[in-house]
């Protein structure tokens, strides 16, 4: 294929990544701590693409030293390099939602060894200056929550709705994905919400304000978020939670 294709593919990839950075949808794919690496990659890819457009020195023309035994760019290679761009441009960027839960282990208790907080809402505001998240509560409860200590505590969390078919009426999960690196390692974390008379649909983003109570199902006692209000919201710019 024409040598023009190489710089075009490299520049195309740089533009694709730049678009994701510019519109913020890069957060649908990777942890925010790695975003700066994508900026660096965009710059490097553009610089590399530019290098193809510079006139070759005479010595290269004579010896073809720069040929580097590079395999001629076949249509297979060009197609595979173009595939992420095609998929990215033809399918609207979408954060992971309910559909990705099917093959993942959902947790309402962390496997991590965090120091539990007595008052997650207050601690979140003091530590980060922002409202608490599902993760704050999941961390606070720990694997064996001392539920009486949390009963009655107010909560204000956002997430997407997942209605499990086996759950009682008016009860559903409010969930977020916890992402360490990229969506390949996304782990869903959730709280059980009880919201009588409220109509919600799977994948709907909501803000739930309410308070916690202890719910005993069989021999297991779990925290239950009793909703005072359930407000539909737009998906946040950063849909995942990070550790």
């Amino acid at each position: 294929m024409s040598k023009v294709f190489r710089p075009l593919l490299l520049a195309g990839l740089a533009i694709f990544l730049y678009q994701r950075l510019a519109d913020g949808t890069i957060h649908f794919y990777i942890n925010r701590r790695f975003v700066w690496l994508i900026w660096v990659a965009v710059g490097a890819l553009l610089l590399i693409a530019l290098s193809y457009t510079l006139p070759k020195p005479d010595s290269d023309k004579e010896t073809e030293h720069a040929h580097d035994h590079a395999i001629p760019l076949s249509w297979v290679t060009a197609s595979l390099v173009a595939l992420p761009l095609l998929l990215g441009w033809s399918i609207a960027p979408q954060p992971l939602g309910m559909a990705a839960l099917v093959n993942r282990e959902m947790s309402s208790a962390p496997a991590f060894d965090f120091a539990p907080a007595a008052n997650p809402a207050q601690q979140a505001v003091e530590a980060r200056g922002e409202a608490e998240t599902i993760l704050d509560w999941v961390m606070a409860f720990g694997p064996r929550p001392d539920l009486p200590a949390f009963a009655g505590q107010p909560a204000d969390v956002t997430g997407f709705v997942y209605r499990h078919p086996d759950m009682p009426p008016d009860t559903w999960f409010i969930s977020r994905y916890l992402v360490m690196c990229c969506v390949a390692d996304a782990t869903p974390i959730s709280l059980v919400v009880y919201a009588p008379g409220v109509e919600v649909a799977d994948d709907m983003w909501v803000q739930v304000r309410g308070h916690f109570a202890a719910e005993t199902v069989g021999e297991i006692t779990t925290p239950l978020l009793i909703a005072d209000t359930v407000t539909p919201i737009d998906p946040p710019a950063q849909p995942y939670l990070y550790y």
Binding site: M1, F5, R6, L9, L10, L17, F28, Y29, I30, F34, L37, I38, A41, A44, L45, I48, A49, L50, S51, Y52, L54, P57, S59, D60, H65, A66, D68, H69, A70, I71, L73, W75, T77, S79, L80, V81, A82, L83, P84, L86, L87, S90, I91, P93, Q94, L96, A99, V102, N103, R104, E105, A111, F112, D113, P143, M180, C181, C182, V183, A184
Partner: protein, 339 residues
């Protein structure tokens, strides 16, 4: 004329492929039931997530490769390559300490070093050790586990396993280990031109730009395999329920196998896998977590596809089986002796 026809045909195939993908996406969107379309979107998101995360590291690896091609002479490498099999492999492992590249970036660097005459054993040890013992992974493992036994055993086991496997390759013949194209390149007179010989002809700036072009070629060739690896990894995530693997969490042997398979399937960048392993620390045996941290960076779906660019098929089988066996034996022994 023939070349022109070939070029036109290649371009037509490429255009057909673009159209086929766009048509497929359109048909899926129109005819797939909502839930299946959402799962398709999830697949695309995971695929792009793995790909985007890998791109900066592959660019870094390609850039280092280009710079080596342009500025490192074969003489320089041969002067500093130890002759003793074990020393040569240890040098490869130690080289990993200096390159901040993950399992994606290390492959183009290794390929370039081979073209410059690096001994096989040194290259294999570097390829397997660098994704674990490099400065970035050392920092992320320390940030996760501190100076705990997990930190030291991860670094120690990865280094020892890489050096052992590298040493074994000392006795292998290059023509049975490397792809024929790599063999050809390693013996090509024009590619063996080194920095000193070529230097008078070109300014440093000009050679830098030429290194960038080499990096671009390298990046495109590697991306070919990276995309296939990312597609497979994303498909596995959508098809295989994690619960199937996590159900093996108990027991000194099965737990090790489960986390090695999970590391292979997840194909997560080695720079952050320590954070991810935290999720298993209370569920799986310590040996299994160590196996995840040692085996995953050495071999996963996407790096396996990248190996195709450098090594023969038989070598790739060895590069999967030897780390699998050695890491498995180490991790099971750790569980039995330590637990």
């Amino acid at each position: 004329m023939t070349s022109l026809t070939h070029t036109v045909r290649q371009r037509n195939y490429f255009m057909l492929f673009l159209l086929a993908i766009l048509a497929t996406v359109f048909l899926l969107r129109v005819y797939l039931p909502t839930l299946l379309w959402q799962r398709t979107q999830a697949f695309v998101t995971i695929f792009l997530g793995i790909f985007i995360e890998a791109v900066p590291f592959l660019v870094a690896g390609a850039l280092v490769s280009g710079l080596i091609a342009e500025f490192v002479s074969p003489d320089f490498l041969q002067r500093f390559s130890p002759r003793h099999p074990l020393s040569a492999a240890m040098a490869g492992g130690a080289l990993g300490l200096t390159f901040p590249v993950c399992e994606c970036g290390v492959v183009p660097v290794t390929r370039r070093l081979y073209r410059k005459g690096l001994p096989l054993s040194t290259g294999i040890a570097f390829l397997l050790a660098a994704p674990v013992v490099n400065p970035v992974v050392i920092a992320s493992t320390y940030a996760t586990y501190g100076w705990s036994y997990i930190f030291w055993w991860r670094m120690g086991a990865a280094f020892v396993i890489a050096v052992l496997i590298g040493t074994l390759f000392h006795w292998a013949k290059p023509d049975s280990v490397l792809r024929p194209e790599e063999q050809e390149a390693a013996h090509c007179a024009c590619c063996a031109l080194d920095a000193e010989e070529d230097a008078p002809a070109l300014s440093r700036a000009r050679r830098f730009w030429r290194a960038l072009t080499v990096a671009g070629d390298e990046f495109l060739e590697m991306t070919h395999y990276l995309v296939i690896g990312c597609l497979l990894a994303a498909a596995m995530q959508v098809i295989v329920p994690q619960s199937v693997l996590l159900a093996w969490g108990q027991g000194p042997v099965l737990s090790v196998l489960a986390l090695m398979v999970l590391a292979f399937v997840l194909s997560v960048c080695s720079t952050v896998d320590a954070f991810i392993s935290l999720a298993f620390i209370n569920t799986f045996s310590p040996g299994a977590v160590l196996a995840f941290l040692v085996f995953g960076p050495m071999v996963d779906i996407k790096s396996l596809l990248l190996f195709r660019q450098v090594f023969s098929r038989r070598t790739i089988v060895y590069l999967v089986m030897l780390p699998l066996l050695l890491t498995g034996i180490f991790a099971v022994a750790f569980n039995i002796v330590g637990g």
